[in-house]
Amino acid sequence: MNPIITLKDLSFSYEKDWILDDINLSVPKGAFVAVIGPNGCGKSTLLKTICRMLLPQKGSIQIKGKDINQYGHRELAREVAIVHQHANANFGLTCEEMVMMGRYPYQTTWKWENKEDSKIAKECMIYCGVWEFRRRSMSELSGGEFQRLMIAKALAQQTEIVLMDEPVASLDLKYQIEILRLCKKLINEKGITIIAPIHDINLAIQFSDLTIIMNKGKIVEYGETRETISHTNIENLYDIKVKQVVDAEENIYYFPAI
């Protein structure tokens, strides 16, 4: 099957060190790809190059078989949406207006939002459980509520590719599961592709199809999650001892050995 995203010999640096170092990657359509790796290994940077927020010094990126530089600004935002790890919440826009911004790539200078856009924004907000906040100012939300709002905005973009940087990092247990289930649902129903750095290895194991293990700007392992996230790989990656627990249903969990 044709990959939806292909990175070839990709290298990127902010100043002098290579933060992404000769990355080769192809992501099949409809996959949930988890990215794991230590802080500062380049996960967020990788996502930012895939949505052309950062321009790599070397190599190329293809989205749906077309070079990323051939896309127009709005055109690219109709294919790739990103949920940032850090976002500025200090702005008193209402939550509904905020999600409505996800419809921007479908508008023009003269054509602003219409009924269709409002309908889609509403659906996405209900999906993420933020519809009740629609009239509230986004600066008044808790961290997790804000995170869900940002996901709703990304969904409103109706893209085939959604990049989620730590989507569940600030969510409570219920919403961790809800949001990841939602991701699964989107993949099953709409065939979208998700790439998500996730620090929680056990969630990555439960929900992702493929896993990328990154370290120091390089992809060290990439493949089926069950095979990639192994006892030795985890211990090597984080340089700690890890305990492995298997439950009655043969699910595997990893915990740092204290």
Binding site: A81, H84, N88, Q157
Partner: protein, 338 residues
């Protein structure tokens, strides 16, 4: 504080009525006291007293239109710059745009390209180019280790402004013959403004304001950060450039008519946000209206406060503005400071 959430159209209408009232009152006030009835008949061209009609039609009316249009331009530029730089204190005065325009225009005045429509056009273009150059200088000096820092921009804005203003002062020193007119002009005011100048600036300013109001969605997005704006498909670099150019144009035309008038670009947007909320879909147009009313009121005050003579309007706005600015500085949350 509870925000007013009515339909933007109604609010605009209410502000327009408020502006009409202010304009009416302003037309009646001044050295020659005129009644509303006389004003109306002069406006209709049916006044029997020709000197009264001249005062109203050729002295007070151009001032009112001028103050309104310049107020619109300055407040709108302030709103756009605050969003663009995500800095609650950005405004054409602070960011050096006004001083840049003033230097360009002062140079034009000294060179003597200052008469007729062509001269007006040329001199505004000089103001425009200097305005852009000064803003870019402040922006690049304000980068601390590669990142745009609010404190850095504020500080370099102040330094560049003072530097440019002192060059203008030097220009007076070397051009005694033109001192009076240049001096009065940099103080900021609409004294003796003519229809010629007003005609030149009104249309470009209105087009500029409409252009910026069509960019409301982009302003909202960029307030959330450039990464965010790029993520929803905005051409961030292109937007920053066009916005800079349009605001510099607005400022250059304003400075050309009335010299440097500070603080309008800070007070009005903040006031409007406090009352009507932050959404640029209404903020741009509302702050334009608010700016027009504010400067009209200030200009009217500037010419009626004293029994004889008048205070330059720049001084009136600064008298309001400086304390207000300090208030904002104290109220700003620390995370917005740097």
């Amino acid at each position: 504080m509870k925000k007013i959430t009515g339909k933007t159209g109604y609010i605009m209408l209410a502000l327009f009525v408020l502006w009409l009232l202010c304009a009416m009152v302003s037309l009646t006030m001044g050295a020659a006291q005129v009644t509303v009835k006389e004003v109306v008949s002069a406006l209709m061209g049916q006044s029997s007293d020709s000197s009264l009609s001249t005062i109203i039609m050729d002295v007070r009316l151009p001032r009112i239109v001028g103050a309104t249009v310049v107020g619109m331009a300055l407040a709108t530029s302030g709103t756009s710059m605050q969003a663009l730089f995500r800095n609650p204190m950005a405004d054409p005065f602070i960011l050096g745009t006004s001083s840049g325009a003033a230097l360009g225009i002062a140079v034009g005045m000294v060179l003597g390209i200052y008469s007729g429509m062509l001269g007006f056009g040329l001199i505004s273009i000089m103001g425009f180019i200097f305005a852009i150059a000064a803003t870019m200088l402040v922006m690049s000096l304000g980068r601390i280790s590669g990142r745009m820092s609010n404190t850095g921009i504020l500080l370099s804005g102040i330094v560049v402004s003072s530097f440019l203003l002192s060059i203008i002062s030097l220009l007076y020193v070397f051009n005694h013959d033109k001192i009076a007119s240049i001096y009065l002009w940099t103080m900021g005011g609409f004294n003796g403004v003519s229809w010629d100048k007003i005609q030149l600036i009104t249309l470009p300013i209105i087009i500029g304001v409409i252009f910026l109001s069509l960019k409301a969605r982009e302003f909202n997005a960029i307030t959330l950060g450039e990464d965010y704006a790029a993520g929803i498909g905005m051409n961030v670099e292109g937007f920053k450039k066009t916005t800079m150019i349009v605001t510099a144009m607005l400022v250059a035309f304003s400075v050309f008519v009335s010299g440097i008038i500070g603080f309008v670009g800070i007070i009005v947007p903040h006031l409007m946000r406090m009352i009507f909320g932050v959404d640029h879909k209404r903020m741009i147009l509302l702050s334009a209206m608010g700016g027009g009313i504010f400067l009209l009121v200030c200009d009217t005050l500037s010419r009626v406060i004293l029994q004889s003579g008048e205070i330059p309007v720049g001084i009136v706005t600064s008298l309001f503005g400086a304390p207000f600015f300090l208030l904002i500085l104290r109220r700003t949350k620390p995370e917005n400071m740097l």
